[in-house]
């Protein structure tokens, strides 16, 4: 078997992405603040995979998701979608591409227009891209409702008549309406009840199998990411600190932040054993005033002098693994 056949195709590639938000003004208290949401982020999304993006608030995962879809302009770096450079295309030029890359949002209560009926909400992308006759649209609507396990009777109702889980299904139906290749899901289950989260996670996995989708799945809940993602990227304060196959990253973390994150997750271990935990001290630094050197060094249990000064870059660490740390943890996939 040649290298060409085994190497998965890359659907989306981001290289050196940076994004800074400017807040405030010269005349107000504090002056102009620069919030560096993303700093030199490079990541590749392979065709057919589910890439999990985890991190806590302020790490930049939502910003990265939106930048990948060019919902934001980027300040630096390159984005390639299906071998086409989309880094600096205008919104107008991007419009035909939008049919191929879609987003599912976090809050099912605010991401659906409450004044529109479900059928209009889902049909809108079809009508906007103008490719379908009205009869085709109606047929497609039924098809979509079936795909997301909702009764077609619901098409004539309004969003407020549904529960959170059902609304999220509507949002998903809307996202897959145009048969996109890539979907970025921004915390799609965080706002749902626990018993409903499992249903929606299952739905995502079903759709991926049925429709051959590729996902970037953003979440803060590690257990959800473990269930659904093939590869996982861990982010902290605007950079990717670790990237690799999900079970490797989550069970043999190379970065101290990943280790702390995993140990902080409270687990329903029935035996009542308190699991050993690395509790990080202090608060995450403000993204407007990040620490020098490695951004994690202020809270890192194994920080050394070098970490205060030199910014670690994302370096490969064994097969299909990379980490941005000067002293990656032992026991990770460093020694193949």
């Amino acid at each position: 078997m040649s290298e060409q056949m085994t190497k998965p195709k890359s659907m989306l590639q981001a290289a050196g992405l940076s994004k800074t938000f400017r807040l405030g003004s010269r005349f107000r208290a504090g002056g102009i603040q620069h919030l560096q949401a993303l700093k030199d982020v490079s990541v590749e999304v392979q065709t057919g995979e589910i890439l999990g993006l985890v991190g806590e608030s302020g790490c930049g995962k939502s910003t990265l998701g939106r930048c990948l879809l060019r919902l934001y302009d980027i300040d630096d770096g390159r984005i390639t979608f299906k071998d086409r450079d989309i880094s600096h295309l205008s919104q107008r030029e991007l419009r035909p591409l939008r049919a191929d890359m879609q987003m599912v949002f976090q809050d099912p209560y605010s991401s659906l227009n409450p004044r529109r009926r479900v059928r209009d909400l889902i049909a809108e992308p079809l009508r906007v891209h103008g490719r379908h006759s009205e009869r085709d649209v109606q047929a497609r609507l039924r098809e979509l409702m079936e795909l997301v396990n909702l009764s077609p009777d619901f098409l004539s109702r309004f969003p407020h008549e549904f529960s959170g889980g059902q609304r999220q299904r509507i949002g998903i139906a809307r996202a897959i309406a145009l048969s996109p290749s890539l979907i970025v899901a921004d915390e799609p289950v965080s706002a749902l009840d626990v018993s409903v989260q499992a249903q929606i996670v299952n739905l995502f996995m079903d759709l991926q199998e049925k429709l051959g989708l590729t996902y970037v799945f953003i979440a803060h809940d590690l257990s959800v990411v473990r269930q659904i993602a093939t590869r996982t990227a861990v982010m902290y304060l605007g950079s990717i600190v670790e990237l690799g196959e999900t079970d490797e990253v989550l069970h043999r973390p190379a970065h101290p932040y990943t280790a702390a994150l995993i140990s902080a997750v409270p687990e329903a271990d029935a035996s009542g054993r308190i699991k050993a935990r690395t509790i990080l001290k202090g608060e995450p630094p403000s993204p407007t005033n990040p620490p020098p050197g490695c951004r994690f060094h202020t809270r890192c249990p194994i920080a050394q002098e070098r970490c205060r000064v030199e910014v670690p870059r994302l370096m490969p660490l064994g097969h299909n693994r990379s980490v941005a740390c000067h002293f990656p943890l032992q026991g990770s996939a460093g020694h193949a």
Binding site: E56, S57, S163, G164, G165, Q166, D193, V194, S195, V196, Q197, A198, Q199, V201, N202, M205, D206, H220, L222, S223, V224, R226, Q227, D247, L250, H251, A260, L261, I262, S263, A264, V265, P266, E267, A268, D269, A270, S271, G272, I274, R277, I279, L280, G282, E283, P284
Partner: protein, 347 residues
């Protein structure tokens, strides 16, 4: 970790019996809580778990008599240190609130008054219940913040809520709640709005409360993992009733109610085999208006039977209690029940 609490002779601090909370509306009486009973002992952490519509928050508000809606109908008894709170006057309640029973809420950003500093708000609570000069109150406020692990407590006391991070705000709220040394702290989803690493710190803090302050805690949450980490006993609520109750290892290790079982199984496991698809409970929790007659969980239950059209009482099995007909004659054997039904379907 203390062993099964039911064996100890710790005194009962709070004894709630047959608490019912309903609201009068145009369509009739909307029942939010139906016959909720539970106890909390001294130095014990009771977790109340439930999803939306379960009534868990309403339970805590009822205990504190904080339900101000004139259309509310509250019956039952809430005995705190022997006294029935539902019979107490508003003045008696005011002297209890904030001094003997304290509460912390989910979102500390909106739960604190935005126009006053943290220090001012803690002082206010201190001076409402204790005779302290302003200087003494301020000193105590700073001291409390320090005890909660707040760095530079004097500086933080001079800050406004919106100037602090989520974790610090929650610590400040906890400091405020503990200022008068309450015997009972009710924590309503205190870590839901926080990052996981910050949540870990706050959970550790709450566990320390029992040791350092001798308080009991009612911890309300929807996260089973949090339940596993902090609680001694668990009460699972669903649609306004108690589904299951008992010591934590028993309930989490051997659930006796299908809802608890389903909830535990639908959590994606961090270790071990990854299921192809997550087991999930079909449907969603009902809204108070849309509760089914009979057993509230029936429409979503994998194990429903004809008898479920009648609401089951709470059955006792050892240290656990579950309101499910399958628990009538002892702890249910879920594997067997599944097998019976699978065979029945195949037939």
């Amino acid at each position: 970790m203390p062993a099964d609490q039911t064996q100890t002779t710790a005194k009962t601090l709070l004894d709630v019996q047959d608490l019912c909370v309903s609201f009068r509306s145009e369509g009739g009486l909307i029942r939010i809580l139906e016959n909720v009973s539970f106890t909390v002992r001294e130095r014990e952490i009771l977790a109340i778990v439930g999803e939306s519509g379960s009534g868990k928050s309403m339970t805590s508000l009822a205990v504190m008599r904080l339900i101000t809606d004139p259309n509310a109908v509250i019956t039952g008894s809430i005995r705190y240190k022997g006294r029935d709170l539902l019979q107490a006057s508003e003045r008696e309640m005011r002297s209890l609130r904030g001094s003997d029973i304290a509460m912390i809420f989910q979102d500390p950003m909106t739960a604190m008054t935005p126009v006053y500093t943290i220090g001012w708000q803690i002082e206010e609570q201190l001076r409402a219940h204790q005779k302290l000069s302003r200087r003494a109150a301020r000193a105590r406020a700073v001291e409390l913040l320090g005890e909660m692990g707040v760095p530079s407590p004097a500086k933080v006391a001079g800050r406004y809520p919106h100037q602090l991070s989520g974790g610090l705000r929650q610590r400040a709220m906890i400091a405020m709640a503990l200022s008068c040394n309450p015997s009972l702290l009710i924590a309503d989803e205190p870590t839901t709005a926080l990052d996981v690493t910050v949540q870990a710190q706050i959970l550790e803090l709450i566990q320390r409360l029992r040791a350092d302050f001798g308080s009991s805690v009612i911890f309300i949450t929807h996260d089973m993992g949090v339940v596993a980490t902090v609680s001694d006993r668990v009460m699972v609520m669903y649609a306004g009733i108690i589904a299951e109750r008992g010591p934590k290892p028993a309930v989490l290790g051997g659930p006796q109610h299908p809802y608890t079982l389903g909830l535990l199984h639908s959590i994606p496991p961090m270790h071990g085999v990854r299921p192809h698809r997550l087991p999930s409970i079909p449907g969603s929790p009902p809204a108070p208006m849309g509760r089914p007659a009979g057993c509230a969980f029936q429409p979503r239950c994998d194990f429903r039977m004809d008898i479920c059209a009648t609401r089951p009482p709470l059955f006792h099995n050892g240290t656990q209690e579950a309101s499910c007909w399958l628990a009538e004659k002892g702890a249910p054997d879920w594997a067997r029940e599944r097998a019976i039904r699978a065979a029945g379907d195949a037939a």
